[in-house]
Each structure stands twice: as C-alpha cells, then as structure tokens.
Symmetry: C2
Subunit: 656 residues, 2 copies
C-alpha cells in the first residue's frame, strides 16, 4: 500500500519526473465513494479511510489552473510545469526569462512568489442536495428556480465561510442530481522553487502534446508560505520515491479534472458539434495568428507571447479532437440510439415518465435559443485581452459588492471574494504592445461578425477604427498596475463610473450587454439544463443504478489502474521513458524546434543520470490509456472515447 | 551527386552505423535499365554510366547470404551484423563467444577468416535471352524444354567461365521472359574485422525486428584478402561519410534482394496461401521449439542455438506476414480481378491469345500437381540438420561430377563448383548435440507426416526409433571435420558408396527419392511455370509496356528515394535514430531481454558520441516506406504490399 501511495517523482538539481504510466481501469471517483469492491477484487488492495484522507489532504488544487501535491512537511508542492507556467512566465521579464532559462532557488536565490496563485486543499465534503432542492418551490419558473437555487447555495457557502473555513464551494454533480459542499484550506502565498527550461518541460511542443511515448520533463516545484512568511506545515503530504513504480504495479491518481459531460443529451452534442467547438476553434486560430505575427517582431515579443501561443496550440488540438469525435457519424449514431433506448425505457414507466416530463425536449429547445446569442455573448468578452478581462471584473465587482450576497453573480460572493481579488490584483506583468494586438484582433472580429451597426460594435468602437481604439486603449490604460485596480475596486461604483481609464470605459460600455446575455444564458440555458439534468440523472439512476461517479467539476477525484506498457500495431511501447530518450528525440530531429535542447542540458548531460525515468504526465497520454484499448493518443480520440464510454477528462492530474 | 553517393556509415572503435532512412520511390531496378528520366525529373540528378559503374563495382554480394559494400581501397567490406552473423558464430566457440562479446581486430588481434564465406562483385551483365530461347525446340515437351534450357544456360556459363571470369551465372528475369548472364569477381578469403555484441547488433530482438523506429547497431566490418594473403585492392569502393545524409536528401540503395514474385498468377498465390507458407511456418515453429528446449539445457547450448533461433524468429515473422497478406480477402479479390482483366485483354487480341495459349491454366494445373508431393519433397530434406545437408551434398556432388556439365543439377556445374565446394568445406563448427536434436525432430516429423510404412520413413529409420537413429547418426558421423568431407568428394562415387559414415548412409538412403521428386518438381512445376511465365510476361509487356523491372533473383539492383521521417497516427517519427535511443529503450524496458545492454556499453557510454545516428538498415522498415504510405512496419504488410503494388522485397540491402 505504501508502495502504491509513494509518489514517483525524481527531484534533482537537474531533475527528472517519473510519473508511472498506467491504464486507469475506469472512472474519476469522488473520495467519498470510490469503488472499493472493484479495487479489492482487482488489486487485492483495501482502500482505508485513513489512506483516502491522507491522499486527499496531500492533494492540492492550484487556483483555477490545475492539480498538484504536497511532497514535504515544509510545504513543497510538486506540479506540472505547464500548471506552474503562469507563475514562471509571470515572474519573468525582458532581463530574466525563467521560461527559457529555468529557475532554481538555492542558498543565494530565494523562491519567488507566484503572482496571483493560490493553493487549495480539500478538507471535507458534505452532501447538501436535499437542502438545495428543498429551496426550489414546486412549479417555479426557470428564472425563479435559478434565483432560488443560487440563493440557497450562496447561503450554504456563506454559513461555511462564517464557520471559519478558508474556502467553501457548492458543486453540482450528476448534471444537478446532487449538490456537495466542498471545504478547502487555502494558501495564498505560493512561491516558485524549481522549474526546468520550458524547452525540456514541454519538449516536443505541440506535435508531441497528447502523444506517447513522450520525453518532456513537465514538472515544477513550488512552496506554500503562511501569513508569517514561513513555509507552511501542510496537514499531509506524499513522499517522493524515485523508481518506486514497476511495470504491473497498481497506481492511484488523485487530481482535479476540470469538466466532463457524460450526461450530455444528443441535442447538446449537436450544439457542441455545430456551434460551440467550431466557434472556439475559429476564435483560437485567429488569436494564434495574431500572436504569431506579433511574436515574429522580436525576441522580447516572442518571449511575451510564447506561453499564450502554447495554450492556444493545446486548446486548438483539443477542439480538433472534439470535433473529430463529434463528426464521427458512427459514434454519433450510437449515441443517438443509446438515448432513444433510454427514453423508451423512461416512457415504459409512467411515474418516471411523469417525473422526467419534457426534460429532453426542454434541453433541445434551449440549444436552439442558445444558438441565437451564443456568438454574440462570447464575442463581447473580447477574450484574449487580459486587461479587458480585468477591467470587466472591476466594473462588475464594484457593482456586485453592493448587492445582497445571494443575489450576486456567483464569482462575487463573499465566500469567493478573497480569492477573486487575490487573482485580480496579481502583479503578473501584462504587456501593452501585446494587449494592443489582442484587443485589435477582438475588436475587428466584433465588427466583422456583428456588423458596424450592431449596438455592441458601436459601444466598443464608437464609429472609430478598431486599430485606433485598440492602440489608445492599450496604451492609455493604467490597469497594468495592480494598485490602480485596487483603487478602483475600493472606490466602488462611483470610482468606476468616474474613471477615465480607456479600458474601464470600454468595459463599462459593453457591461450592460454582457449582463443581459449572461442572465439569458443562466436562466434560459443553464437553469433549463440543470433542472432537466436533475430529472434525467435521477431517471438514469432509477433505471440503471447509481454505480457510477459524477461528472468532473474541478473537484478532487481518484482514479486508478496498473502501470503498463502496451503493444501498438506490433510495436512495443514501454511503460516509461528515460532522459536518454529526450536526447535521442532531440538529436534524431537534428534539434529542429520543438526538438531543440537547452545548451545547459547538452553541456551537463554526462553529469545526469540519463537512465532516470521521465514521463509525460499529460492528459493526452493519460486519457488514452484510461478509457480505451491502449494506443498512441491523438486528440481526436479523447472525445470519441468520451462519446463511446462516457468518460470524464482528467486534466492536469498529478500522479500520487 | 557526390553527396548522394557518399556512404553513411559511422565507424568507431565502439561504433555506430547511420543508414539514411528513406522512402524509395519505386522499384528494384537492374543497373542496365534504371529509370533515368524519373530520377532526373524527381531529384534533378543525372545518373551517369560512370556513376552506375562505380556503385555497381563497389557493391558486394556475400556468398548466398546478403549484401555489402567495399568501403576502402584495401578491401574493407561493410555489411549488416545479421549478414555477417554466420561468420561471427562460425568463429566462436565455448571459450570465445564473438556473438556475445563482439570482435575487434587491432594491432594485437588479427582479422579472422570467415568459414565458407565468399564475396562477389558484379562486373558485367549480358542479355542472353535470344540464345536461351533459340535453344528450345518449338513444341518440345516440358521435360525436353527443361533439358534444353538447362543445357544452354550451362553452356553459356561454361563459356564465360572458360573465358576467365571468376563466377558466371545466368539469371531468368520477368518469370523467364529474359535471361541475363552475370559475370562476377569472386573473393574467397573474407575475414572478420569488427562486429559489435549481438545484444546491440540485434537490439530489440524479434519484437523490434521489422519495426521502426529501431535502435539496433546492425553492422559488421569484413575484409577481403587475395591469394597472396594480402588485403585485396577492390576495383571500386564507396567512401563512408558519417552524417552526410540529412532529411530530404535523395538516397540510392544498391543491394541484392533475394527473390520476389510480382508475376505470380492467382493460382500460385492460392498455393502459397494454402500450402507453401502454412507448411514452412509449421516446420519452423517446430524447429524453434526443439532448439529452444535444447538451448535451455545450459549456457553453451544456448550459445550454440542462439543464431539459428534468431533466424527462425525472423522467418516465422515473415511467414506470418505473408499469410496475413494472403488471407486478406480484399487484397486477394483485387488480385483476382486484376488477373481477370489481364486475361480478358489477352483474349481480345487473337494473336496474343494464341501465343499465351493455356499458360494460366497450365500454371494452375501445376499447382495441383505440386500439392501432391510438395510436403514429401520438403520433408525428406530433413531441413534443420546442417550435417545432413552436407552429407546430401557430398552424395550428389560425387555423382554429378561424373556427368556431362550440361546434364548436371544446376549447382554442380563446373562454373559454380568452386564456390560450392568452398562452402561445403567450411570449417564453421557444427555441434553433435545440437545436430542430434534437429535430426531427431526431423526424423520424427517424417514418420509422423508420412507414416511408418512410407518408403522414405523406412529408408531413413529402418524400423528403428527416430531418437536412436538421430543419436547414433549425429554421434557417429565424421563429417564435422571438413577434411572428411573433402576426402569423400575427392574419392567420388566409389568412396561415397563405401562410406560407413551414418550421416552419409542416411543421405544415400534418401537420395533416390530426393532426385525423383526434384526431377518432378523441375519438369512438372518449375518448367511449366517458367514457360508460362515467358508467355504471360511477354503478353504483359505487349499490352501494358515494359516500363518496369524484373523480379529480384539475388542479383544486383538499384533503388532510390528520399531520406525522410513521417507522421504516423499523429505521432512524428524521425528519419533517423541515435545511440541515445538505444539506451532509452534499454532502460525504459528495464533491460528485460531483448532490451538488455552489454555491460561494456553501459560502462563506456560517456565516452561514446551518443548523438551519433544509427538506423536499422533492415528490410522491414525499408520495405514499408518503399511501397506504401509511410507507417510502422509489420511483417504482414510486406506481403500485402507485394500483392497490392507488386513490389519485390529487398533483403539485406546496404545503403550507398
């Protein structure tokens, strides 16, 4: 058991992460309900409460970003480099590029505080389903039930907050079939201790992303600090044991997968296929184009844009994969047939049929409504520009703070506010020239897609050229300085209304439309899907049993499998890769990017243990082995598998 | 041009072979007729006669084994380790295991003569089709035409021999549509200079065989010596230029691919599918089983059996691949449809129809006849036992030498005799205990398959148990000593008849049946296929043009392509691999055989240039890129491709 639990990360001055590579048998289980019988039968392992508690309290959620683990009694946190990348980039500048050169704290170099980063540890969960559902009056309209549900979850979170818990969140499970309160311990001083060069952390770049065998060293070390400025003593932590895993060993993975949607109806899949993913893909490709052009203007521009381009590469690949799956007619036909049978089974049970009512039809209607304003709702966010997002937050938080807690937009509740502001005041640098590029692109897009006469276009541009507005707004804003943001938030509605900051002005101009569309979305789409989801989920449980786990919602989950290689098309793929392979792949491709190697690595390679196991702990390789016959992962498969087996997608999981 | 020609092999004390990895565009062209236009158009390269001569005269055929190149003015020959393995194994003993430990000549260690090995260089070719065909009387019976054809080719070879050429061979091209005389220079003193450990030469063993990316260092260096005991000065040689190849470069490959059969009729494919390959597979699997059991009895037994087990692994994989292709109904249906159309096109042309006559029907009938004695003919060879094969050769060469040259079995013609005897008298060690194992297995099989009352079984066993006969025969034979073989050959028919050697006795007992079945095979199968082949081939040329190349027959061919990596299932495969990858794969599999690394390599790895490119110059990876969209090679594909694209299969090609 200890072997299973022992972590698997090699840490050295020039370091290597071994992340055991396994097939998870099935599932992303919540810690209150792991399939103990199945695990006992398959592995002969008894999951004790003490073990689960230990693992849970050692698991870390990093702000809104990803997963990690405490790995020492003095607050050391192990995570992926791509999870820590926002911090590494945020600490970098024209003169100190930690993405390029890596970072290592030692006697002479102190750890550096990650701008805006928090670490959360899940201390307890509580089923609050009955309480949430009881708060919704029978026969309430969608708008009323939305308000009632919102008010009740806000109340639950507030009570929890008042009782002294750092962070309280109510998460909906089973598409609204259950509600669980999550109580977190929160650390808001997280510092960077060690990060390798991004060249090795994301070695192989976009081509190798989601693929295996992979040879990237995708890890970083952080440390959490207390209010006293000293390293925290975490409640629990995992011990790193290099080489502890061998082929065939059972492996358990704890992490915070973002979101999955196994209870999606066919109508929702069609919406995703025809609107959602095509739209996002188009947006992201356009943004990548703008940033690539910008990055080509110079070394510093390249440095500034690098991380965001990497993210876009990643998400475009994901969208491509989703679309491939959604456009697979065989899979979609099967999905349709499954739903048809499910609905027939419901119809065959009168009381069930009465309870489910027109849930499927309601969801289908909601998709049609969503089509009407989906693009517009997303376009006015001007997504891509960080400063515009900040300005929008400032405009809204000022207004929301004045409302009763239960009536606020969710993210501005008192229980969430501390973390929200911590992130809003992050000193992570934002660059005016890059902001201008992104803002120009989004403003042009707004005009192109909605037309010059649209109220949103008029509000944003006021009849002027997008490039002029973007230039002046990006250049004239004071929000690059976190203190300026703070002054506005603390000045409240009056300060925001009086502000001459061009970015605030732009946010103010678009805010009414944003609020209107968000309200439509929440009442006419989200609430409809939520209420229908509750009924569909309970019908599913009644008909087919509840021997399953809820969709993922960036809450802590447990997965498991065996560490194993596999044979693909007659070729043996090992369960692990080594640093030798990193160099092999680099030199095999003659170091053409993204297969170039950092000079330091080449110079010191004979001083490293090149036989040390490394492994891409990335979601691609992980998912593939998780839900299907083993095979090299292509992004397309992820969604195809999702359709086929209803898995959820674990992102940024950290192995334990 | 020089870049193209420059060879690609890195040679160091601990050495690495770079064999550029390419897609050959198409074909295994003879040197008299390369597709100059296509090459000019595709690569902008003009193939000059001088260049072709240079390449041809630098190319080496190693006895009946494989391909190689002269790579120095003083007779150094570069080849694959698996081609030189017979030599390496033949020089090894219980106390000196060069397969395991490698071999390197230096100031203190002299090169060692490879037992029985010869090197041939093709000096000239000549079209003798008219002469051969003219020798066959119109309307001759199959037996008569066989005799006439044989006599004429024997005469041509003899005349060539008499004119002072070292080695003269007439090869049939286009299934008998053309005959070409090949004149070779012959070197019969070939010595081992350098061979790495077989652990790295065939790293990855059977699982990685035919696959890419591969990380084996499959090379060896030999040197040819003259009658004066001094290194020969070859007519021409290639210059080794490490790293000369980069991705995208054009590449030319000269080599001696064994045999292909693109002009095979559908009836022949059916025979291969239903009889030939299933039989060979069964035989080889059984032999491998017997040898594996033997090898498990001790280290020395393991050493003795290793190479033969490797060969069997290889051939079983090939047979599996062939069978997979032949059992692919889609492919076979296409093959059938192609032949049907071809036959319709013939039928539409009365003069052509008359010339082709019943060629297809004749070939089909021959297959039925072949079925009658195929198993029997192969079973009485007791294949597997090297000493029995030697005994059979002795019995026959003694008898054949007394016949006129034109009437002899082909391999005993004067023009071939020198090489034949050189091989027969090879001092390569043969082990009595292993012989007993193999002989017992074959004798048991003979009895099982033909029954105890069959004349062959009776002749071989004389009513005794197979294990007794095998034990006594293997233990009692004197033929382990090459001098004993020589004495019998020189003693002629009388000496053979008088010999009490049990192996000679066994060979004598089975020889009449062998001769009878061989004659049936040559007259009723081979000659029928040959004559039909001529007619079918000429019809094909007339209908579809002759813009093609003949099937391979272990004669020198030229192939070409570009050095290139490829993308497989979304994963980038580089055009080359490096020594880093060898270590990566070893440690990734925790050195579980066949991924174990020689101790010397591990100890000295920091002294090696691990970034040096290596590459499996093996047929699997090569063919796959040659005839189909790039992809990881499985043996099954080879034959499927053969069916699909009518390629020939280059074996043991050496890159130039």
């Amino acid at each position: 058991m200890n072997k299973v639990l022992s972590a698997l990360t090699v840490l050295m001055a020039i370091a290597a992460v071994l992340a055991g590579f396994g097939y998870a048998d099935e599932g992303m289980w919540t810690f209150d309900n792991p399939p103990r019988d199945q695990i006992r039968k398959t592995y002969g392992i008894e999951l004790t409460d003490a073990w689960l508690d230990h693992l849970r309290k050692s698991s870390v959620r990093l702000g809104g970003i990803g997963s990690a683990s405490f790995v020492s009694e003095n607050g050391l946190i192990l995570t992926n480099h791509h999870v820590a990348a926002n911090c590494v980039q945020g600490l970098s500048s024209e003169t100190e590029d930690f993405m390029k050169d890596g970072f290592g704290a030692d006697k002479n170099v102190a750890p550096r505080r990650c701008p805006g980063m928090e670490a959360h540890v899940l201390m307890a969960t509580e089923d609050v389903t009955a309480r949430v559902l009881a708060a919704i009056p029978d026969g309430a309209s969608d708008a009323d039930s939305f308000a009632a549900r919102k008010a009740e979850t806000a109340k639950i979170e507030q009570e929890c907050d008042d009782a002294g818990t750092d962070l309280c969140e109510v998460a909906a499970f089973y598409a609204g079939g259950e509600y669980w309160l999550h109580r977190y311990k929160r650390y808001d001083d997280v510092r960077l201790v060690l990060a390798p060069e991004s060249q090795v952390a994301s070695f192989g770049g976009d081509p190798d992303n989601f693929n295996y065998p992979r040879y990237c060293l995708d890890f970083a070390l952080l440390r959490a600090y207390g209010a006293d400025g000293k390293p925290v003593r975490p409640v629990d932590w995992l011990t790193v044991k290099p080489g502890a895993y061998k082929e065939g060993d059972p492996m358990f993975v704890a992490g915070h997968p973002t979101s999955s949607s196994r209870f999606t109806t066919y109508a929702q899949l069609e919406f995703e296929r025809d609107h959602l993913y095509p739209f996002w893909k188009r947006m992201m490709e356009r943004e990548r184009g703008a940033l690539t052009t910008y990055a080509a203007t110079g070394e510093e521009a390249e440095r500034r844009a690098l991380l965001q381009i990497q993210y876009l590469d990643n998400f475009i690949k994901v969208a491509d994969g989703y679309l491939r799956g959604l456009n697979d007619r065989t899979l979609m036909a099967r999905k349709k047939a499954e739903e048809d049978r499910f609905r027939q089974d419901i119809a065959a049970d009168p009381s069930l049929a009465a309870r489910v009512g027109g849930a499927f039809e309601g969801v289908a209607r909601a998709q049609k409504i969503h089509e009407e304003f989906f693009d517009r709702y997303r376009l006015i966010l001007l997504r891509g520009s960080r400063l515009f997002r900040i300005a929008g937050h400032i405009v809204r938080v000022a207004a929301e703070k004045e409302k009763p807690n239960e009536e606020r937009l969710e993210e501005f509740r008192d229980s969430a506010l501390e973390g929200f502001l911590h992130s809003l005041y992050s000193p992570s640098p934002i660059y005016a020239d890059m902001e201008e590029v992104l803002l120009r692109d989004r403003l042009q897009l707004l005009a192109e897609e909605l037309g010059d006469d649209d109220p949103a276009t008029k509000a944003a541009l006021g009849g002027r050229a997008a490039e002029d507005v973007a230039r002046e707004t990006a250049a004239g804003s004071t929000l690059y300085d976190p203190d300026a943001r703070k002054a506005l938030v603390e000045g409240g509605v009056a300060a925001v209304a009086a502000s001459a900051d061009p970015m605030i002005r732009l946010a103010r101009a678009l805010d009414p439309m944003y609020r209107e569309l968000r309200a439509r979305y929440e009442e006419e789409i989200e609430e409809v899907e939520q209420k229908a989801g509750e009924r569909i989920a309970s019908a599913r449980f009644k008909l087919y049993g509840r021997d399953t786990y809820p969709d993922t919602t960036f809450t802590l989950r447990l997965s498991f499998g065996r560490v194993a290689g596999y044979v693909e098309d007659g070729y043996r793929i090992p369960y692990q890769t080594t640093l030798f392979g990193l160099f092999d792949r680099g030199y095999s491709f003659e170091e053409q990017p993204p297969y170039d190697l950092p000079p330091r690595w080449k110079a010191k390679r004979n001083k490293m243990d090149l036989g040390a196991a490394i492994n891409s702990g990335q979601y691609g390789g992980y998912v593939s082995r998780k839900f299907r016959k083993p095979g090299r992962q292509r992004p397309g498969r992820t969604y195809r598998n999702a359709l086929r087996r209803q898995p959820s997608v674990p992102r940024n999981s950290v192995r334990v």
